[in-house]
Each structure stands twice: as C-alpha cells, then as structure tokens.
Amino acid sequence: MTAVVAEHDDHHDHHDHGPEKGFLRWIFTTNHKDIGTLYLVFALVMFFVGGTMALIIRSELFEPGLQFVDPNFFNSMTTMHALVMVFGAVMPAFVGLANWMIPMMIGAPDMALPRMNNMSFWMLVAGVLLLASTLFMEGGAPASGWTLYPPLVLQTGKAFPFAIFSVHLLGISSIMGAINVIATIFNMRAPGMTLMKMPLFVWTWLITAFLLIAIMPVFAGAVTMLLTDKFFDTSFFDAAGGGDPVLYQHIFWFFGHPEVYVMILPTFGVASTIIPVFARKPLFGYSSMVYATGAIAFLSFIVWAHHMFTVGLPIAGELYFMYATMLIAIPTGVKVFNWTATMWKGSMTFETPMLFSIAFVVLFTMGGFTGLMMSVAPVDFQYHDTYFIVAHFHYTLVPASVFILQAAGYYWLPKWTGNMYNEKIGRLHFWLSAVSVNILFFPQHFLGLAGMPRRIPDYAIQFADWNMVSSIGAFIYGFSQLLFVYVVIDTIRGGTGEKVTDEVWEDASKHSLEWTVPSPAPYHTFTTPPETIPTEHF
C-alpha cells in the first residue's frame, strides 16, 4: 500500500514528464500510447508471419501435384495461418488502436487500468511465441484447422498441450484488454461526453469488449476439455465414453461466431469514423449505427450452429439457425446503407484512408452477400467446407478488417507522428492491394462452387487454372504490403516533411476529439478534460 502511495506521489512530482529513456521504456510502459504502439507493431510483424504462411499455402496450390511441402505441414500452415492472423494480427491491431484512440476520443488522460494494460500486452507476446514454438516440436504444429476439432486434434504430437496453454494465455490477455476498454469507457469519459456522443469507434469497441468477456472463457473451457480428454481420461468428446465430438463444435462456435464479430465490429467503427471526415458530412444515422452494432452483437450469440449445418442437426435446429442467421443481414444492411448515405451529397476527397474505406464498404458487402447465400441452410449443404467459404470469410477479413486497419494507419499516422505520409505511395499501395485482393479471392468462389474442398494440399486438374490465378493474386497482394511497411517507417522518420496541423484533415475536429490535441500527440493528453465535445450530430 505504501509503495502505491509513494509512486502516486512520485507521479505528481513529475507531472509532465515524457517517456522514460532507453529500451526499458517499452518493457515497463503503462502509457496508453506506448502500449498502443507496441500492439500495432507486434500486429504488423504477425501480419507478415501469417502472410508468409499464406504464401506457403498458395505456393503449394499454384499447380496440381505436391511440390513443396508435406501434407501434414500444409495442414499445420492452414491452422497456424489462421491462428496467427486472428490472435496475433487482427485482434492485437484493434487493441492497439483502442489503446491509442479510445482515451483520446473520449477525452481521458489514459486507460483506466494501465498496469493491466502492460500485462495484457506481454501475455499476448508470450502466448503467440508459445504458439509459434509448436512449429519446431516433434510431430509439428497443430494441423487440425484453427477450429481444433476433436477427435482429429487429439492426434496432434507433442505440440498439443503447448497449443492449448497458448490459447489460455491469449484468452487471458484478450479478457484483460476488454476489461480495460470497458472500465475506461464507463469511467473516464470527459464531462459532457455522453454515451450517445461517443465516436462510433468507441461504441463498437465497447460492444466488442463485452463480446470478448463473454466468449473467451468459453473457448478456454472447450480447449481445457480437450486437454483432459487427452491426458486425464475424460470423454467429453469421445463417443466410446459417452461423449460427443459434435458437442465440441457447439461450444467452439458459441465462441467462434462472436469471435469473428470481434474482428469486424471495430472495423465498422473505424469506417464510420473515416468516411464522414472525407465526405465532409456528419455520419448518417449515428444512433441507428449504434443500435445496429448492438443488434449484430446480440445475434452473434444465437447463430453459432450455422457453421455446422451438415453435422447432422435435427430439422428444427436447421430451420432455427437458418432464420436467425438470415436476420443478421438486416442490421448489416443498415450499416452499408448508412455509409452510402453518408457519402451521398457529400464533398468527397479520396485520400488513401478514404480509398481503403470505400473499398472496404464494397468488398465487405460482397463478403456479406456470400454470407447471405450460405445462411440458406439447404444450399449450404453444397457450399459448406469448400473454397466458397474460404472466399467468403477472406472477403470479410482481408478487404474488410485488414483494409480498414491500414486505412486507420494512414488516417492516424499524422496524428501519431506529426508527419504526413507519402500520399503517392499510399495510393499505389491501395490500388495494388485492391486489385490483387480480388485476383486472390474472387476465383475462390468459382473453385468452391465447382467442388474444391478447403484444406487440401493437392487438387484435381479442373481446379488448376483458378488456383494459379489465385496464387498469383496472393503474391502480388503479399508483396504490395511491403509498401505499407515502407510508408509507416518513412512517416515515422519525417514523411513528406510537410508539418501537419492539429486537425490534419479538413474539419476533422468537428467529428472527434483526437484532432483537437497537437500533432504529434504529446505523451500525455487530456490531463485536463476538453471543454467542447464534438459529435456526429452537428
């Protein structure tokens, strides 16, 4: 107790100190901006690790026949690519944005629980490193798909308990991050920042945080049951002992479906933040955006078995999960219509963040269309576990979550660094990404409909042409992302040399508070609360 008080006093003594000098700053930091940077850099590195795995997959699939990898290693790659991208890249990147932006958007000096913030980051690093270490273990990394279905996952070699412990660490890290977000939003808003004045990014993160707290323990429970089935002779998922392998799927997807919304809701939030600024109009239908996000989050808990239509559900189950899943189209449609209406009669300019955001609306909607198609349970008996679903979820993740994360990077980098990024290279990065991502994923619709199952290392000759096209797209897309790394490093080092204003983007401070502080944002912002609160209803 004394220690806490002493440190508290110490903090007051050096009220406006900057960051600590040296390397230890990054280990011990409790500053939301430092931790945000750590998360973002970590996520970017993992994006390339997961991307390399994707390119190994696409290299093997470039031509029929087995050329490069053993089928088991191929299965490890599909498994690890997904786990690294979901838990190592997309989720941490959004946590990084939350750390940087939520306090600045609600006029708070920092996150509510700074030490837990630090701990949650380093647990994430530990979890991902543990996961990556399984690649070098006897028997290889998990090869049962990221869903870790039993009984197959029980055939994993030495890596099995390590993978599960890694999931536990990642889960604890996510829960801590989520608690922090909720505590910050509920307790640290500036006077006058009512809930219905908060930027949409804050709203979507608030809802996402509740999703995380609800689902991560479920996943932890499911994998713990796998652990006891393997090592302690329980039979939760073993029919021979009275269990049921399908029970695992129900538990997993009760986590898994909200989990995909954990990756998409903050995406919606950033898009709703960027589009109004570049349309020079307030966001259309602010409150319906909030309610739609809430509705999508609620629905995400009651649709899980649409991942399991062919598993042998009773007919009532098929019908219920089909109807419930179809309903998601309504709030999602509302969002797409609202973004379109925000652009309508605006005064638009097309800087890189806006380009990525528009591409997001279009391509995410295409992913939404295939989602609607698959919600129709009987036809899903054809689509299920083919390349059609691979195309679907990559459309909702790559040109959606990843595009928007990069849009966020371009949008806020000037605020973070005080420098302007190179617009020409930004646009080049956009066009290369937007074209190649379609060369990469659009043909996968054809492959799936033509009958190519997912997760196979080799395929029949009639699938050869589109696989080759898809692989070419993958390589263009993958290497284009190096441009993003270049832009980020270049901007940190000074960018175009042009000094940016506090507002950076025209009239941005009318939309949100982060544009009222200096650029680059000082180490501590809003040590005194802001006086005026901008809203999207101006």
């Binding site: 029929p64 026949g65 050329q67 089928p71 088991n72 299965n75 006897e138 028997g139 197959l152 070699g157 029919a239 392998p245 020079r280 109009k281 307030p282 259309f284 239908g285 602010y286 062919t310 598993v311 042998g312 179809m326 449609g333 797409v336 219509f337 379109t340 652009m343 309508w344 009669k345 605006g346 005064s347 638009m348 300019t349 909607t365 295409m366 269309f369 609607l372 198609m373 129709v376 349970a377 009987p378 036809v379 054809q382 576990d385 074209v435 379609n438 659009f442 043909p443 409909l449 009958g451 997912r454 997760r455 196979i456 080799d458 000759i461 009639q462 042409d465 080759m468 096209v469 209803h537």
Partner: protein
Amino acid sequence: MKKTKQLLACLVLMTLGLGTAHADYTLNLVQGVTQLSHELYDLHMLVLWICVFIGIAVFGTMFYSIYHHRKSKGHEAAKFHENTTVEIIWTIIPTLILVAMAIPATKAVIDLDKTQESEMSIKVTGKQWYWDYEYLDNGIHFESHLDEASEKTHRVSSMDPRSVPNYLLNVDKPLVVPTKKKIRFLFTAGDVIHSWWVPDLGWKKDANPGFVNEAWTYVDKPGTYRGQCTELCGRDHGFMPIVVIAMEQEQYDAWVKTTLEKQNQPVDLSDQSRGSLMTKGESVYLRNCVACHQIDGNGISGWFPALRGSAKVTGNMDQLIGFIQAGTSKMPAFRKLPDNELAELITYIRNAPELGNNVGDEIQPNKITPKWDDDE
C-alpha cells in the same frame, strides 16, 4: 470497379490458359442429377440474383455519389445526418426479401430431411483415409481407396498429375447404385470426423465417430459422379475421393450378382510366381500402408517409423506376420487382410527396391498361419 477487376482476372487467366489445355473448369454450382440437387441449384440462383440486384442498386448509388459528389467538382456538402422514413424503408424491404427467401429455403430443408420410405440402405464409414461401404440389404461390403495412379503420382514429385485421368478423383472400387430408387445413406466414422460429398447429389453429410447420420438420394440419370471428403481428417484428407456410379436397375442387379459371387468366393491361396506376389503386394501396400510409411518406405520422422532397412521388416518372418496382424497402439491391426494379400504384402515390403529392402525371399499365401490369438 468490380467489373474492371474481374476483367483483369480474366485477362490474367487467358494468358495463363494459353499454356494449358484444360479449360473444362466451371464457374457456377453444378446442377446435379437429382430432383433435390436441382431444387438447391434453383435456390442458389435465386439468392445469387437477389444479391446481384441489391449489389447493383447499392454500388450504383455509391459510385454515382463518388463520381458526382466530390470536392474536386466543387460539390458542397449537404448537412443532413438522418432520415427516419428512409431508415425504416431500408429496414423493412430487406426483411421482406428475407421472408421471400426463407419460404423456398424452408421447403428445401424439409426435402433434405425426407429419409423415410427408402428402398435400400448403404452404410458409409469414413476412415483415415478411405471410405468403407456396406450395402445393408444384400451384404456387399468393400473399401474404396484412392486409385493407384493418383496415389503414386501425388507421392512422387516427378510424375505429372495432368497425365492421370481424373487425378485425385478416382477410386479403386466405386460405389455402385441403381437409378430411380430412393437410397438411404447412413454415415459414421471409424476414427475422426469425415464428410461425404458428391456435388451432383446436392449435399454433403458429416460422418461422426460413434454417431449415425442419415441422408438420401434418388438419382435420375445413369453416370459417374465424383466427390471428395470435405471435413479435414488428417494428413491425407485431400486423398480420399468418392466415386458413385449410377446404373439402370438391370445392370445394377447384374453388378450385385457378380460382386456377391466374388465376395463369397473362398480366398485363392494357391501359389503365385514371385513377380505376381511383388506386383500385387505393391497394390496392397498402396491401399493400406503408404499413407503412413510413405512411398519410399522412409515413414515420417516423429510420426511413422521407416520400413526401409527396418529390422522388424527384414528380420524374422513369423514375427513380422504377427506384428502386422496384431498392430500396435499406433498402428491398426491388419487382421482384415486375407492370407493371400498378407503374403503379397510381406514379400513386397521385404524385397521392394522402392523401399530399399532386399531380403531375397518370398512367402506363399498357404504358408501364412495366424500368429495372433483371438482370445487376446
């Protein structure tokens, strides 16, 4: 924008296509050969067209706006930020569209579920990595493995997949069914979850260990229909295809007769030449052993032991027979192999140059005596 991208993709494809003669790819879902598959195809097209029309409307509006409402054209931003009437309309219209979709979809769900009143039943068991078919009405029972040509080609990188007919979509023993008969399928699995999918029949169904799933079909048209396992089931998940041959009732009856005759024949235990033992032994090896011990007998380090130079393989013959029949905690017991196949297999693995073994002996089928005890 989307169109340009598709055009680009097509251009890339065409340039590539010049080198390859295989242009028999399809872009859309197969229509299939059953009433059910047609119903699902129509439903697929209905939803697809709904999506296309919504897409044209939404993206059309957006691109109109992007083109006209831009600052560089001097367009002033309007101030509106909500409109309750519009918002209610674009909530209600999608709801109505969904209801319109749900009606035929509900009917299709019910149709998929109609497994009652079938005229015959086939039990399908998924195993790592082949299918096991059992005709419950006449006792026909066989395993269906990937055909030898595909098996060898995908395991030897110097062989060209394009030279193999129906590469990875062919089996040694196809499932034969009569046309115009309601057939009920029962699905289960022996080890992990598999999924049985023939696109032309219109559905896939998971095969879960310890549980039985049902599905049905009624094939209108005779023909050969191919599919694959669609639930990740381990390293050779991509190599357990399904072939269904539908034939008219008369031909089917003839097939049943000859198959049953063959099945009920006593195993031929007469002596064979060494060459015959070796050739047939290779087939037995490719069906039963290659998935783990690999085509070169090297196994996979950390997973499956090598046969190449293995003392167990090249050592005492009787112990080897007992070992194969009894299995281990990791290797299944191969008691299912009749004595002739076991003799062929043993001669092959002890002497195959591909596996690097050369003991220089052989064993004839009638020399095999059971080395395991049923009571154990």
